[in-house]
Amino acid sequence: MNTLYLYTIVGVGLFTLGLYALLIHSDLLRKILAINIMGSGVFLILVALAARTQGAVPDPVPHAMVITGIVVAVSATALALALVIRVRTKVGHANLPEQSLE
């Protein structure tokens, strides 16, 4: 039970850390990394929660979900990186412009 909660708490920690980094950094590469860390946090939570009862065989469905999730995350990251390159060649720097919240 302890390891289960440890993993879950680490997962939540990663999620929060990623969210924080996503919000404060303006550099696009850092933002993409932050999103990936958030994703890893969610996957860790999913895997940790799959072991419902101590000692029993873990539930396979969350594992399938994590695999699907990883595929999605990889393709999303690829698209994001490709976009960063395009933004850099067009704009000259890889930052999002400051946006007034109108």
Binding site: L28, V42, I45, V61, P62, M65, R86, K90, L96, E102
Partner: protein, 465 residues
Amino acid sequence: MLSFLLPQRVKLLGLLIAAGVVAAVAALGWQVAELGAQRYAIGGWGAPLGIDLYADGLSLLMLMVNAVVCLGVSVYSTGYFNRAYFRRSRAIYFWPLWMFLWAALNALFLSSDIFNLYVTLELLGLSAVALVALAGGADALTSAMRYLLINLLGSLFYLLGVALLYHRFGSLDITILSQHIEPSPAVWVAMGLMTSGLLLKTALFPMHFWLPAAHASAPAPVSALLSALVVKASFYIFLRLWLEIFPVDSSVFGELLGVLGAIAIFWGGVQALRQTRLKMLIAYSTVAQLGYLFLAFPMASYFAWKGALFILLSHALAKTAMFMAAGNILHFGGHDRIQDFDHVVQYQPLTSAAFALAGISIMGLPPSGGFIGKWLLLEAAINSGQWWLVIIIIMGGLLAAAYIFKVIGYAFTQSRKSHQTRRVPIRMEWTALILAIAAILLGLIAPWPLAIMDIGLPFSGEAAG
């Protein structure tokens, strides 16, 4: 897939597929209307493990409006992507991405479990981002980037909620979940996470900041799609979850959503009035119209849900027509600055008529679809004695009238500047007009979609409201 292989035939292929999907949706519609809600287990695995498709009145309506809008956009795009200044390589990318987006939308409306919804949501997000980036300018690329980050963030929140729900109840199927759900801290947390993720994607008021830039900088058919369907997709998931899974007596959340929706109506309306460019104006108008959808939550009655859905349908049609009209004007004059419109009405009578008709639906004047939706919402508000909602709905209509008449006014007058003009393919004008007419017709055939909503309706039990 095929459209990657046959770049020469891509337009023809796109249109053929479009026609095929429309036929399939029509067949499904007949089936649902005759036999009630349908469930189909892919590969015969069945609910707990396999992937189920589920179609009831709600998904059928979404599929239908989807089919109509997408067919329109397909026809429009054959004209739009012919233009000289659109590099041919880009135009080739449009079709596969567009088919991908459409497939994701259809899958989303048919999914019956919450993890599948996550996957389709991601597919939708990724293809939508790629389509925004097609425009290719610096504006388009940065707003595509922001859109992508927002999308991923929203999806991760949603996925975390899914993880919690699965841990608590051991199932992903919406029907099974709805039987087992009970108020508990885990459910509240999951609900909070999923709600905030989906609201981010639906662009409800404080989280709307990404929408106008992304919608305004995309190519015209893409903006039409984003405004008409993509934001509605996350709203659809939200509605499903809210109605079927989460405990209904969450009135504080409902009030909060209603207040946010109300602020969105005002804020979007005022911002739309302030814009100087047509596509930005239409994008802010989308923010305002999305606000209406959330007004149904504090009332949570039968009429309110129907009203919100009706606004959703008519907005999808009308907003597509509006963005197409904007695309035509942009193409014709080479700019979309509202003040410099030069006798648009004389040069493009069909486009102007499309814009005006769509505007009627957005404002909610009879006999349009928007009117029926607002009427149902008003009725629900009066029935439940929530007068502040009545005032907001009426004020929102006035604001919409103000910004639409602003555009139409300039369309009649002569501009001081003269500019070069280009001919717009006639089918681009006609599709805009036909969709606008469809938005109006939706009001005249109102009983029919309302009856479809009743098939396998998640909220039919509350008919007394």
